[in-house]
C-alpha cells in the first residue's frame, strides 16, 4: 500500500483551524500554569508550615493523578455541583491547573538553586522576605528555570491533544474527524504529528532565544 497525501489536502484549512485551537488552548493553559505554579512553588519554600503543606498537597495530588481524570472531573464532574463550563474553558483550566503542579516544582527548584548566602546578605541589609523574593530570588530563579519550563511547555502542547476527549476541535480532534471521512488514517495522523512538531519546535526555539537573551552577562 502506498501513502497518498493528496486525499488530505482539501482538509488543510480544517487542520489549521485545529492547530489554532491547540495553540490558543496551550498558551492560555501555560499562562494559568505559570500563575498557579509560581504561587504554589513559592508556597513550597516560604517559612510558613501550613502554606508549605497546602502547596505540597497540591503538587502531590496533581502529579499523582492522570490529566485525563482531572479533565473529566472539571468538565463532567463540576456540573453536578452547579458549575458548568464550556468544553474549551474546562479544557484550558484543566490543563492549566495540571501544568501548575509541574511548574510549581520547577519554581521550587529554581528558587532553591539561589545560593543561601545571598538570602542572608539580603536579610542583614534589611530587605523583607517578600522584597528578597521579588528583587533577588525570582529574577535568578526564572533564569535557572527556563530550560525546565521549556520542557514543560512542550509537554503541555502535546498533552493538549487530550482535549479531544472533551469534544474540543483542536488538532487531534480534527485528525479524527478527517480520518472518519477519508479513512486515510496514516496520512492524516502523519500530518497531525508534523503540525505538532512544528508547534513544539517553535516553543523550544522561543525558549532558547529567551534563555540566551536573559543570560547573566
Amino acid at each position: 500500500m502506498k501513502l497518498d497525501f493528496s486525499i488530505v489536502f482539501p482538509y488543510l484549512p480544517m487542520f489549521f483551524k485545529g492547530a489554532k485551537a491547540t495553540i490558543e488552548a496551550s498558551i492560555l493553559a501555560i499562562l494559568i500554569g505559570l500563575a498557579i505554579g509560581t504561587i504554589v512553588g513559592v508556597g513550597r519554600v516560604i517559612p510558613l508550615k501550613p502554606i508549605n503543606f497546602i502547596a505540597w498537597l497540591y503538587v502531590y495530588v496533581i502529579r499523582g493523578t492522570p490529566l485525563l481524570v482531572q479533565l473529566f472531573m472539571i468538565y463532567f464532574g463540576l456540573p453536578s455541583i452547579g458549575v458548568e463550563l464550556e468544553a474549551f474553558t474546562a479544557g484550558v483550566i484543566g490543563l492549566g491547573i495540571n501544568s501548575g503542579g509541574y511548574v510549581a516544582e520547577i519554581v521550587r527548584g529554581g528558587i532553591e538553586a539561589v545560593p543561601k548566602g545571598q538570602l542572608e546578605a539580603a536579610k542583614v541589609l534589611g530587605l523583607s522576605y517578600i522584597q528578597t523574593m521579588w528583587h533577588i530570588v525570582l529574577p535568578q530563579a526564572i533564569r535557572n528555570m527556563l530550560p525546565a519550563l521549556g520542557n514543560e511547555f512542550i509537554t503541555l502542547v502535546k498533552e493538549s491533544s487530550l482535549l479531544s476527549t472533551l469534544a474540543i476541535t483542536e488538532l487531534t480532534m480534527v485528525g479524527q474527524q478527517v480520518r472518519s471521512v477519508t479513512f486515510a488514517s496514516f496520512e492524516v495522523f502523519i500530518v497531525v504529528a508534523l503540525i505538532y512538531l512544528v508547534i513544539t519546535t517553535a516553543v523550544s526555539t522561543l525558549v532558547r532565544y529567551i534563555e540566551r537573551k536573559w543570560q547573566v552577562r
Binding site: 545560593p115 545571598q118 542572608e120 546578605a121 539580603a122 542583614v124 541589609l125 534589611g126 533577588i136 547573566v216
Partner: protein, 260 residues
C-alpha cells in the same frame, strides 16, 4: 557608650555547643579582632551578633538596646549592623551600582536619584568608581568584596562585622580589601573582624580576642595577644599560624618589611 555588647551568649547546634557563654563588648570607634582555629565558633558568633542565628541563652545589646531577631525582617537592624561575608554574597544579576542601591531604596526609602548618588560615592570610596556598571561575574574577588563593603556601608550601620573577608581571595587580591577596611578603621568605623591575617589584625585592632572551642580564651591589646600571649593555647595557635612567632618579626622590629 558600647556599640555592641554580648553577655553570656551560648549557642548549640543539636548536641554540639558552639558558643559557651561569650562575653564581649565593643565601644564606639573601636576595632576588635577575633582570631582562633577554624571550627572554634567565630562565624557562629558573628552570625548571632547580626541576628542571622538565634541564641540559646544570654543577651546581645546594640547601642544598649536588646537585639531582637525577627524571622522575616531585619529592617530595624539593618541601619545598626553591617555584615561582610567570606563569600561576598553579591547579587549576581545586578551591577555593582544596583547591588549598593537596592537596600537604601527598599529599606530606607531613599529616592532612586539619592540612592544612586550614595552608591556612586561609596563605590568610589572603595576604589571602584570605574566599575559601577559591572556585574559581579565581571569583577575579581577583591573587587567583589569591595562592592560588598560598599553595599553594607550604604545602610550607614553603627558597626560592621567582617567574617574572614579575605579568606576566599587569591593572595594578590587580599591587600586591596584590607586597605579598604583599614581606611574604614581610620575613619572611626566600629568593627569586629574575624581574620587569619594576623599582621593586619595586629596593626588595625584596638583589642584582640582569641577564641577556641566556643570560648574566649584570651583577650587583650594586639601587643599582649601577638607578642606576649599568656595562654598556652594562644601561643600554640600563633606558632602554627606564624612561623616566625616568638622571633623578631612579630615583635615589630621588621615591621616595615611586613607592612600591608
Amino acid at each position: 557608650m558600647e556599640t555592641l555588647r554580648a553577655v553570656n551568649v551560648s549557642k548549640s547546634y543539636g548536641k554540639l555547643q558552639v558558643l559557651k557563654g561569650i562575653n564581649l563588648s565593643v565601644k564606639k570607634g573601636e576595632v576588635l579582632s577575633i582570631i582562633g582555629p577554624s571550627g572554634s565558633g567565630k562565624s557562629t558568633l558573628l552570625r548571632c551578633l547580626c541576628g542571622l542565628e538565634s541564641i540559646d541563652s544570654g543577651e546581645i545589646y546594640i547601642n544598649d538596646e536588646p537585639l531582637i531577631a525577627d524571622r522575616f525582617s531585619h529592617r530595624h537592624l539593618a541601619t545598626k549592623i553591617g555584615m561582610i561575608f567570606q563569600s561576598f554574597n553579591l547579587f549576581p544579576h545586578m551591577t555593582s551600582l544596583e547591588n549598593v542601591m537596592l537596600a537604601p531604596m527598599k529599606v530606607k526609602g531613599l529616592s532612586k536619584r539619592k540612592a544612586e548618588k550614595l552608591a556612586k560615592e561609596l563605590l568610589i570610596r572603595v576604589g571602584l568608581g570605574d566599575k559601577i556598571n559591572y556585574r559581579p561575574s565581571q569583577l575579581s574577588g577583591g573587587q567583589q568584596q569591595r562592592v560588598a563593603i560598599a553595599r553594607a556601608l550604604a545602610m550607614q550601620p553603627d558597626i560592621m562585622l567582617f567574617d574572614e573577608p579575605t579568606s576566599a581571595l587569591d593572595p594578590e587580591l587580599v591587600g586591596e580589601v584590607l586597605e579598604v577596611i583599614a581606611q574604614l578603621a581610620k575613619e572611626g568605623m566600629t568593627m569586629i573582624i574575624v581574620t587569619h591575617e594576623m599582621l593586619f589584625a595586629k596593626e588595625i585592632s584596638n583589642r584582640v580576642i582569641f577564641m577556641d572551642e566556643g570560648s574566649i580564651i584570651e583577650e587583650g591589646s594586639p601587643q599582649e595577644i601577638f607578642v606576649n600571649p599568656s595562654n598556652p593555647r594562644t601561643r600554640a595557635f600563633l606558632r602554627r599560624l606564624l612561623p616566625h612567632f616568638g622571633s623578631s618579626l612579630i615583635e615589630g622590629e621588621k615591621e616595615n618589611e611586613v607592612r600591608l
